[in-house]
Amino acid sequence: MATTDHGVTSPTRARIDARTLRQDRWWLSPLTTFVVFSAFVVYATVRAFMGRDYYATPYLSPFYSPCLGDCVEGASDFGQPFAWWPLSAALIILIFPLGFRMTCYYYRKAYYRAFWLSPPACGVAEPHGSYSGETRFPLILQNVHRWFWYAAVLVGLVLTFDTVLAFRPMPAEYAVGDGETSGIHMGLGTLLMIANITFIWLYTLSCHSCRHLVGGRLRHFSKHPVRYRLWTWASRLNESHGKWAWYSLFSVAIVDLYVFLLATGTIQDVRFF
């Protein structure tokens, strides 16, 4: 059998030809991740570059929030400081949530396994001849995760504001009965936005950098009881960080899709009151 100068077929290792002797369906998890993440990237890219159908009163797509470019009327709750921006307004803001997720410790695990096969699964040899991990450019930039976390908190606050606005009364032209335009409104979109912002906050607050910053960095919990308490809460959330990452990925896409379908007139908002 041929030996190589690296990996499980190195000269000193037990001579076994197979890259892995695993008999379970180890490829299923990375394959699922690959398909779902790819589908999300394609969908998000198309929607981000579209530059339209992102606002249907009172709902604003999370991909376009805050809408700082030359946005449609009613969408810009924080002004339009980038009104000169010639491309889609989503491109101004998406870098922050995108950067947050790209440098996220959970997503790193998921995409290193599914896209870079490094390794594809535990005990399955990776195909690469050399490996330097996150020690060199560009992967050394993963260390800026906490900066994206700071930005993600701000984006989370904006999306929370959007969710509150989703309770706004509908304009007169949407009225379907007496008194429909007064008081607060709640539709299926409002519910979807509430679910979305819940998952976004669970994902943001369960972040490993958040856990570190609120208390994990300390050497003496005993001297910082409040931060210790915050750390225990963040730690509890952190155990399900991967789950929140998936849920919030789906919820953000579903809210955007719902707004798109409303804005294009494909469906009507399901209104509860």
Binding site: E126, G133, H212
Partner: protein, 258 residues
């Protein structure tokens, strides 16, 4: 109830070897190590296995079962179908000595490169004091039985022999984390962890956590916190600015870089 188990065991040494098929009688409630011991007693008296406590506490019987790093003594035969062939090989990251026994001295070399705790001065009454809440944090890491399954599964060294020189591995990252979280230690190991121990080589794919028989959350509770501590030291401009204008984190006071 006894049945005939089909076992495929790697036999050989550094010169070469192969997977060899055996059939051995086993009983309900037994573990893979029991089957191997019966094989050794009845058919292959020269089969080399390293084992000791048979209770998952000594960390001796690490091997790979159907391609997955596991303790032989903690893998129940009832986890498999009676008709299934169970393949047992030595750990594929370390040099093989013979059959299922490997040379794990790589780990002892890495242990020697790690400076031990250097405690500060004692209190006036000659005692040292730590708060319970500070002590508890490191206890999870003390559960490590040094089976080196995490080192075995880590692709950084498993798939790249040349990285062994520059990479301490997950077992030692939990030691770095434990000492860095130690309330009385005076060493600051962050630069060492990033440099000589190769913390940046880890791409947090969590296989170490998956295989740990003690259930230590190696990645979430040790490696990522150590990575964040390295970020504190080197990649966080707010910390840098705080140090420049005298707003130091007092929790780091009294530590010297090693």
């Amino acid at each position: 109830m006894a049945y005939d188990l089909k076992l495929r065991v790697w036999r050989g040494d550094i010169e070469g070897g192969e997977l060899t098929d055996y059939t051995v009688e086993v009983s309900e409630g037994e573990v893979v190590l029991d089957a191997l011991h019966r094989l050794q007693a009845t058919q292959t008296g020269d089969l080399a296995i390293r084992w000791n406590c048979k209770a998952g506490k000594c960390g001796s019987c690490s091997a790979e079962i159907n391609g997955r790093p596991r303790l032989l003594c903690m893998t129940r035969l009832s986890d498999f179908e009676p008709s299934e062939t169970i393949t047992v090989t030595p750990m594929r990251t370390f040099p093989v000595i013979r059959d299922l026994v490997t040379d794990v001295s790589f780990n002892y070399r890495k242990a020697r490169e790690l400076p031990y705790a250097e405690l500060g001065p004692r209190d006036a009454d000659g005692k040292r004091r730590m708060a319970q809440v500070d002590v508890e944090r490191g206890q999870e890491f003390r559960k490590c039985i040094e089976c080196f399954l995490c080192q075995d599964v880590c692709h950084v060294v498993r798939d790249h022999e040349d990285n062994k020189q520059h990479f301490a591995g997950p077992r030692f990252f939990i030691r770095y984390a434990e000492l860095d979280m130690h309330p009385l230690d005076t060493h600051d190991r962050r630069a060492l962890a990033q440099g000589a121990a190769g913390l940046g080589m880890c791409n947090i794919t969590k296989c170490c956590t998956e295989v740990c028989p003690e259930g230590i959350r190696i990645t979430d509770n040790a490696i990522i916190p150590m990575k964040e501590r390295v970020v504190d030291r080197k990649y966080d401009p707010l910390v840098w600015l705080g140090n420049k204008i005298g707003m130091r984190n007092k929790d780091n006071e009294g530590r010297t870089e090693v």
